[in-house]
Protein backbone atom coordinates (compact mmCIF):
# COMPACT_ATOMS: atom_id res chain seq x y z
CA UNK A 1 0.00 0.00 0.00
CA UNK A 2 1.26 3.47 -0.83
CA UNK A 3 1.65 5.92 2.05
CA UNK A 4 -0.62 8.25 0.14
CA UNK A 5 -3.40 5.68 0.51
CA UNK A 6 -2.60 5.31 4.23
CA UNK A 7 -2.96 9.06 4.56
CA UNK A 8 -6.32 9.05 2.80
CA UNK A 9 -7.77 6.03 4.64
CA UNK A 10 -6.92 7.56 8.00
CA UNK A 11 -7.65 11.19 7.04
CA UNK A 12 -4.17 11.79 8.37
CA UNK A 13 -2.18 14.96 8.70
CA UNK A 14 1.38 14.86 7.33
CA UNK A 15 4.09 16.47 9.49
CA UNK A 16 7.09 15.67 7.34
CA UNK A 17 8.15 13.54 4.40
CA UNK A 18 5.37 14.69 2.07
CA UNK A 19 7.75 13.96 -0.81
CA UNK A 20 7.92 10.27 0.14
CA UNK A 21 4.17 9.52 0.05
CA UNK A 22 4.59 7.41 -3.09
CA UNK A 23 6.62 4.90 -1.02
CA UNK A 24 5.06 1.44 -0.60
CA UNK A 25 4.72 -0.39 2.73
CA UNK A 26 4.15 -4.16 2.80
CA UNK A 27 2.73 -4.59 6.28
CA UNK A 28 2.07 -2.73 9.51
CA UNK A 29 2.75 -3.05 13.23
CA UNK A 30 0.91 -1.26 16.03
CA UNK A 31 2.33 -0.80 19.53
CA UNK A 32 2.97 1.79 22.21
CA UNK A 33 5.88 -0.28 23.48
CA UNK A 34 9.09 0.39 21.57
CA UNK A 35 10.65 -2.65 23.28
CA UNK A 36 8.10 -4.79 21.46
CA UNK A 37 8.75 -3.06 18.15
CA UNK A 38 12.41 -3.99 18.59
CA UNK A 39 11.50 -7.55 19.53
CA UNK A 40 8.79 -8.41 17.03
CA UNK A 41 9.30 -6.49 13.81
CA UNK A 42 11.30 -8.29 11.13
CA UNK A 43 10.53 -6.45 7.95
CA UNK A 44 10.09 -2.87 6.80
CA UNK A 45 6.69 -2.01 8.22
CA UNK A 46 4.48 0.98 8.77
CA UNK A 47 4.52 1.73 12.50
CA UNK A 48 1.34 2.85 14.26
CA UNK A 49 1.76 4.14 17.80
CA UNK A 50 0.21 6.37 20.44
CA UNK A 51 3.61 7.03 21.98
CA UNK A 52 5.17 10.39 21.14
CA UNK A 53 8.83 10.94 21.97
CA UNK A 54 12.15 11.04 20.07
CA UNK A 55 12.78 7.36 20.84
CA UNK A 56 9.91 6.40 18.54
CA UNK A 57 11.89 7.89 15.64
CA UNK A 58 15.13 6.32 16.92
CA UNK A 59 13.47 2.93 17.19
CA UNK A 60 12.09 3.30 13.66
CA UNK A 61 15.54 4.24 12.42
CA UNK A 62 17.14 1.10 13.86
CA UNK A 63 14.39 -1.06 12.34
CA UNK A 64 14.59 0.61 8.91
CA UNK A 65 10.99 1.79 9.34
CA UNK A 66 10.38 4.77 7.07
CA UNK A 67 6.90 5.88 8.12
CA UNK A 68 5.14 6.38 11.47
CA UNK A 69 1.45 7.06 12.11
CA UNK A 70 0.65 8.63 15.47
CA UNK A 71 -2.84 7.58 16.54
CA UNK A 72 -5.47 9.05 18.89
CA UNK A 73 -4.74 12.55 17.60
CA UNK A 74 -1.22 12.63 19.03
CA UNK A 75 1.05 15.15 17.34
CA UNK A 76 4.85 15.09 17.32
CA UNK A 77 6.77 18.10 18.65
CA UNK A 78 9.30 20.10 16.65
CA UNK A 79 12.24 18.10 18.03
CA UNK A 80 10.68 14.86 16.85
CA UNK A 81 9.80 16.30 13.43
CA UNK A 82 13.36 17.61 12.95
CA UNK A 83 14.84 14.26 13.90
CA UNK A 84 12.49 12.45 11.49
CA UNK A 85 13.34 14.89 8.68
CA UNK A 86 17.04 14.17 9.13
CA UNK A 87 16.26 10.45 8.64
CA UNK A 88 14.01 11.01 5.59
CA UNK A 89 11.04 9.63 7.51
CA UNK A 90 7.35 10.25 6.99
CA UNK A 91 5.36 11.29 10.08
CA UNK A 92 1.56 11.18 10.01
CA UNK A 93 -1.12 11.72 12.61
CA UNK A 94 -4.70 10.44 12.68
CA UNK A 95 -7.57 11.12 15.08
CA UNK A 96 -8.46 7.40 14.91
CA UNK A 97 -7.59 5.08 17.78
CA UNK A 98 -4.98 2.37 17.25
CA UNK A 99 -7.70 -0.24 16.83
CA UNK A 100 -9.76 1.75 14.34
CA UNK A 101 -6.74 2.91 12.34
CA UNK A 102 -5.46 -0.68 12.16
CA UNK A 103 -8.90 -1.92 11.09
CA UNK A 104 -9.17 0.61 8.30
CA UNK A 105 -5.72 -0.23 6.95
CA UNK A 106 -6.29 -3.97 7.24
CA UNK A 107 -9.62 -3.68 5.41
CA UNK A 108 -7.78 -1.69 2.77
CA UNK A 109 -5.39 -4.59 2.21
CA UNK A 110 -2.45 -3.74 4.47
CA UNK A 111 -1.94 -6.80 6.66
CA UNK A 112 0.06 -7.28 9.83
CA UNK A 113 3.41 -8.84 10.37
CA UNK A 114 2.82 -12.15 12.12
CA UNK A 115 5.54 -14.57 13.09
CA UNK A 116 5.35 -17.92 11.34
CA UNK A 117 2.78 -16.91 8.76
Amino acid sequence: MKLLEVKELLSAEVFCGEEFLETEVDSAFGSDLMSDVLAFVNTRVLLLTGLVNPQVVRTAEMMDISAIVFVRGKCPGEDIIELAKSKNMVLLSTKNTLYTASGKLYAGGLTGEEKGE
Partner: protein, 142 residues
Protein backbone atom coordinates in the same frame (compact mmCIF):
# COMPACT_ATOMS: atom_id res chain seq x y z
CA UNK B 1 37.04 -3.42 4.09
CA UNK B 2 37.87 -1.52 7.23
CA UNK B 3 39.90 -4.14 9.03
CA UNK B 4 40.66 -3.22 12.60
CA UNK B 5 38.64 -0.03 12.73
CA UNK B 6 37.99 1.01 16.33
CA UNK B 7 35.46 3.55 17.56
CA UNK B 8 34.75 4.79 21.07
CA UNK B 9 31.70 6.66 22.31
CA UNK B 10 30.58 8.14 25.62
CA UNK B 11 26.95 7.61 26.58
CA UNK B 12 25.60 10.37 28.81
CA UNK B 13 23.81 9.67 32.04
CA UNK B 14 20.06 10.02 32.09
CA UNK B 15 19.73 11.96 28.82
CA UNK B 16 16.91 9.90 27.43
CA UNK B 17 16.14 12.15 24.46
CA UNK B 18 19.65 11.59 23.11
CA UNK B 19 19.77 7.86 23.77
CA UNK B 20 20.32 6.10 20.47
CA UNK B 21 22.65 8.68 18.95
CA UNK B 22 25.61 6.34 19.24
CA UNK B 23 23.74 3.47 17.60
CA UNK B 24 22.67 5.85 14.86
CA UNK B 25 26.29 6.90 14.20
CA UNK B 26 27.49 3.30 14.10
CA UNK B 27 24.64 2.33 11.78
CA UNK B 28 25.66 5.13 9.43
CA UNK B 29 29.34 4.12 9.54
CA UNK B 30 28.53 0.47 8.77
CA UNK B 31 26.30 1.54 5.89
CA UNK B 32 29.11 3.67 4.46
CA UNK B 33 31.53 0.74 4.81
CA UNK B 34 29.18 -1.41 2.74
CA UNK B 35 28.10 -4.07 5.27
CA UNK B 36 24.97 -6.05 4.40
CA UNK B 37 21.60 -4.69 5.60
CA UNK B 38 21.13 -7.83 7.71
CA UNK B 39 24.39 -7.33 9.63
CA UNK B 40 23.73 -3.60 10.05
CA UNK B 41 20.24 -4.26 11.39
CA UNK B 42 21.50 -6.77 13.96
CA UNK B 43 24.21 -4.40 15.17
CA UNK B 44 21.83 -1.41 15.27
CA UNK B 45 19.10 -3.15 17.27
CA UNK B 46 21.40 -4.94 19.72
CA UNK B 47 23.42 -1.80 20.33
CA UNK B 48 20.37 0.47 20.65
CA UNK B 49 18.90 -1.82 23.32
CA UNK B 50 22.21 -1.67 25.15
CA UNK B 51 22.41 2.09 24.85
CA UNK B 52 18.88 2.50 26.22
CA UNK B 53 19.80 0.23 29.14
CA UNK B 54 22.89 2.31 29.89
CA UNK B 55 20.80 5.48 30.03
CA UNK B 56 17.80 4.18 32.00
CA UNK B 57 19.50 1.79 34.41
CA UNK B 58 23.17 2.53 34.61
CA UNK B 59 24.30 6.21 34.73
CA UNK B 60 25.76 6.05 31.23
CA UNK B 61 29.19 4.72 30.31
CA UNK B 62 31.29 3.96 27.27
CA UNK B 63 30.76 1.94 24.12
CA UNK B 64 33.68 0.54 22.11
CA UNK B 65 33.04 -0.81 18.65
CA UNK B 66 35.60 -2.87 16.76
CA UNK B 67 34.85 -3.42 13.10
CA UNK B 68 36.51 -5.99 10.88
CA UNK B 69 35.49 -7.92 7.80
CA UNK B 70 34.96 -11.03 9.99
CA UNK B 71 32.93 -9.65 12.88
CA UNK B 72 31.72 -6.61 14.74
CA UNK B 73 32.47 -6.44 18.44
CA UNK B 74 30.52 -4.08 20.71
CA UNK B 75 31.70 -3.54 24.27
CA UNK B 76 29.35 -1.58 26.50
CA UNK B 77 30.72 -0.67 29.93
CA UNK B 78 28.42 1.17 32.31
CA UNK B 79 28.71 2.76 35.74
CA UNK B 80 25.45 1.31 37.01
CA UNK B 81 24.38 -0.71 40.02
CA UNK B 82 25.22 -4.06 38.46
CA UNK B 83 22.79 -6.91 37.78
CA UNK B 84 21.89 -8.95 40.85
CA UNK B 85 20.42 -11.92 39.01
CA UNK B 86 21.54 -12.25 35.38
CA UNK B 87 19.40 -15.33 34.80
CA UNK B 88 16.25 -13.41 35.73
CA UNK B 89 17.34 -10.34 33.78
CA UNK B 90 17.64 -12.55 30.70
CA UNK B 91 14.02 -13.68 30.97
CA UNK B 92 11.71 -11.97 28.49
CA UNK B 93 9.34 -9.72 30.41
CA UNK B 94 11.40 -9.35 33.58
CA UNK B 95 12.26 -5.73 34.27
CA UNK B 96 13.32 -3.50 37.14
CA UNK B 97 12.51 -0.32 35.19
CA UNK B 98 10.35 2.28 36.93
CA UNK B 99 7.05 3.68 35.64
CA UNK B 100 8.76 6.72 34.08
CA UNK B 101 10.81 4.46 31.82
CA UNK B 102 7.73 2.45 30.93
CA UNK B 103 5.85 5.59 29.96
CA UNK B 104 8.63 6.26 27.48
CA UNK B 105 7.94 2.94 25.75
CA UNK B 106 10.71 0.86 27.30
CA UNK B 107 11.22 -1.26 30.39
CA UNK B 108 9.20 -4.17 29.05
CA UNK B 109 11.90 -6.63 29.98
CA UNK B 110 12.99 -7.26 26.41
CA UNK B 111 16.36 -5.47 26.40
CA UNK B 112 18.79 -8.27 27.26
CA UNK B 113 16.74 -10.99 25.48
CA UNK B 114 16.74 -8.80 22.36
CA UNK B 115 20.49 -8.22 22.57
CA UNK B 116 20.97 -11.99 22.74
CA UNK B 117 18.55 -12.55 19.86
CA UNK B 118 20.29 -10.13 17.52
CA UNK B 119 23.89 -11.05 18.37
CA UNK B 120 25.90 -14.20 17.68
CA UNK B 121 27.71 -14.11 21.02
CA UNK B 122 26.88 -12.26 24.22
CA UNK B 123 28.95 -12.09 27.38
CA UNK B 124 27.92 -10.25 30.54
CA UNK B 125 30.21 -9.45 33.44
CA UNK B 126 28.71 -7.55 36.32
CA UNK B 127 29.67 -6.37 39.77
CA UNK B 128 27.15 -5.05 42.26
CA UNK B 129 27.74 -1.37 42.96
CA UNK B 130 30.39 -1.04 40.24
CA UNK B 131 28.77 -1.66 36.89
CA UNK B 132 28.10 -4.05 34.07
CA UNK B 133 29.95 -4.87 30.88
CA UNK B 134 28.10 -6.40 27.96
CA UNK B 135 30.15 -7.75 25.05
CA UNK B 136 28.29 -8.48 21.85
CA UNK B 137 29.72 -10.14 18.78
CA UNK B 138 27.97 -10.06 15.44
CA UNK B 139 29.55 -12.29 12.80
CA UNK B 140 29.79 -10.79 9.36
CA UNK B 141 30.20 -14.09 7.56
CA UNK B 142 27.81 -16.90 8.40
Amino acid sequence: MADGMKLQFVVDDGDFTRAGETSSKVKKTLTQLGFSPEVIRKVAIAMYEGEINMVIHANGGTIDVEISSEKILIIMQDRGPGIADIERAMQAGFSTADSKVRELGFGAGMGLPNMKKYSDEMEITTEIGKGTCVKLTINVKG
